[in-house]
């Protein structure tokens, strides 16, 4: 894939359409603790890194509280 040759709208279409947890456009395998990482399909569940990472370790709870 010649990434340099990608016109912008094609890049957006690829980003949207490829079924993968990460899509890199015009670069390879950039990693950042701020950006979530993980897979679609058989590649896995859940995410590491990014805001979603900590949520994997948390449960949500609904608390109903009458205040009137």
């Amino acid at each position: 894939m010649s990434c340099q040759a990608l016109a912008k709208p094609r890049a957006h279409r690829l980003a949207k359409s490829i079924r993968a947890g990460s899509v890199w456009i015009n670069c390879y395998q950039a990693m950042d603790p701020a950006v979530q990482f993980g897979g679609h399909k058989m590649s896995g569940c859940g995410r590491e890194s990014g805001a979603r990472h900590l949520e994997e370790y948390l449960n949500v709870k609904s608390v109903w509280n009458r205040t009137d």
């Binding site: 709208p9 957006h12 980003a15 949207k16 701020a34 805001a51 205040t67």
Partner: protein, 475 residues
């Protein structure tokens, strides 16, 4: 032995001395030093430096920005003794409270620095083939004005927010208590903050605000101080279509329900009234106490207040220092005289201590009538006003009866009452069963006349950003 620092302007990474005004020690009215006043040229240089600083800092990664901020707070923690000494000299608060203020200021800037890495935008679902993305972009150069009561932590709020988001800042700190901000700027300078990202000026406040606020490159005005000045600055900013963060006065209600222990609650309250000699916008002031426990609460409060050790803040045995200036002493005398003339009883303190230094004791007024001036006007000093109420409804109504709405407090062991108070008390910050109004991670600010915008928490950082909607067909 630490010394009071030489006071300088800090513009574009350079330190500068100019003629100015005397800084007075409120303990003995001696002159500590001279605070330099910025000239028009200095302000122009600060603006040019801040514009250049913004270009550089906004293109620095959040991680790198956080690294510099942490390097600065490490230096402040290392230099805490000298910094606390200077702040106690100029402001009067006990040395332990100065140390705590510095630690709190560091925590605020560190939290902001970390949160600066999480200023997320969002993607909005729309028609097929259309993508709306909403990034948060930096607002630009910030003009900040900080007050005399917190020489370090109030500048820390503003500098921490601006620098963590990626903005540059021109800080005009208090001319009465300038050393906290000078020491803070020194730490950032020594930590390698690029020139122009943080600039510190002093001068005649109205001259500086009237010059800086209209300048096109200034995109946000943030101010902590009185309601009248805040309204004036907001109007000026509005005339130039600039957003503001206004942390203004408060007149905090404390609702004490009859299901709590009156003695321990009164002791907590007396101690909670003493920091900074009550010269705090969130100081607990109007105590609405339910009838059944009122007398025991009032007696315990007076007893604890009278035991408070008042004196030179450099002596670690003292729990309360002098007021910041002569104006505060005169205001306390006037408010006490007015309240007693209208039927209030002085049960602790009430009169100035000595005739040198601005000392006024922790003062408890019981049975303060609703029409006393102190119940309407923010005392900003060591006055605790006690009022008997017959019901929770009456307490809520009286709590909400002033134009202020900054912090409020309540003591109750009843969950239903706590929820009701959380709903009904008109304040930006309500603390239940304790007297801490703000922390680094929570949004702090007021409703009604107490202000606009928030400092701290996610909401605080968002004030330094603007949202942009970017619509883009992707098909």
């Amino acid at each position: 032995m630490p010394s009071y620092p030489e006071l300088k302007l800090y513009i574009g990474g350079e330190w500068k001395t100019t003629p100015g005004a005397a800084v007075i020690n409120p303990h003995d009215e001696s002159v500590l030093g001279t605070v330099p006043h910025a000239t028009r040229d200095d302000l122009d240089n600060a603006l040019a430096a801040a514009e250049q600083g913004f270009r550089l800092w906004s293109r620095t990664s959040p991680a790198k920005r956080a690294e510099t901020i942490f390097a600065a707070t490490r230096l402040m923690r290392d230099r805490i003794e000298g910094m606390a000494y200077a702040m106690t000299l100029e402001q009067g608060k006990p040395i332990g409270q100065s140390r705590l203020e510095i630690l709190r200021g560091c925590e605020i800037m560190e939290w902001d620095a970390q949160e600066g890495r999480r200023i997320y935008g969002r993607i909005i679902p729309s028609e097929p083939g259309m993508r709306h993305s909403v990034p948060r972009q930096l607002i630009g150069v910030v003009a900040a004005f900080s007050p005399w009561n917190f020489p370090m932590s109030s500048p820390a709020r503003k500098v921490g927010g601006a620098l963590s988001a990626g903005c540059s800042i021109i800080l005009k700190a208090s001319e009465e208590t300038p050393a906290g901000a000078v020491r803070l700027a020194r730490a950032f300078h020594d930590a390698g903050l690029p020139p122009g990202v943080l600039n510190l000026v002093f001068g005649k406040p109205s001259d500086i605000s009237e010059y800086l606020i209209p300048r096109p490159s200034v995109r946000l005005v943030t101010f902590t101080g009185s309601v009248p000045v805040g309204k004036h600055l907001s109007a000026m900013a509005g005339a130039h279509m600039k957003p503001v963060i206004m942390e203004l006065g408060g007149h905090s209600p404390v609702i004490v329900c009859d299901d709590v222990d009156p003695v321990s609650t009164a002791v907590t309250s007396a101690i909670g009234k003493s920091p900074d000699a009550g010269q705090v916008c969130v100081s607990p002031t109007r105590f609405f106490v339910e009838d059944k426990i009122y007398d025991r609460f009032a007696a315990s409060f007076a007893e604890r207040a009278a035991a408070m050790k008042v004196g030179n803040g450099l002596d670690p045995a003292n729990q309360m220092g002098p007021l910041a200036n002569e104006r505060r002493v005169a205001a306390m005398e006037m408010l006490v005289a007015d309240a007693t003339a209208k039927g209030a009883r002085v049960t602790a303190g009430g009169t100035r201590i000595g005739n040198r230094g601005y000392y006024f004791p922790l003062t408890v007024l019981a049975d303060v009538p609703d029409d006393a001036r102190a119940m309407r006007e923010e005392p900003f000093g060591p006055l605790a006003l006690l009022s008997r109420v017959r019901s929770l409804d009456e307490a809520i109504e009286k709590a909400n009866s002033v134009p202020y709405g900054l912090a409020g407090y309540a003591f109750t062991n009843n969950a239903r009452t706590a929820d009701r108070l959380a709903e009904c008390v008109e304040v930006g910050n309500l603390s239940i069963n304790h007297l801490v109004a703000s922390s680094a991670e929570t949004p702090f600010g007021g409703v009604k006349d107490s202000g606009i915008g928030r400092e701290g928490g996610v909401e605080g950082l968002q004030c330094y950003t603007v949202v942009k909607n970017v619509s883009h067909p992707t098909a």
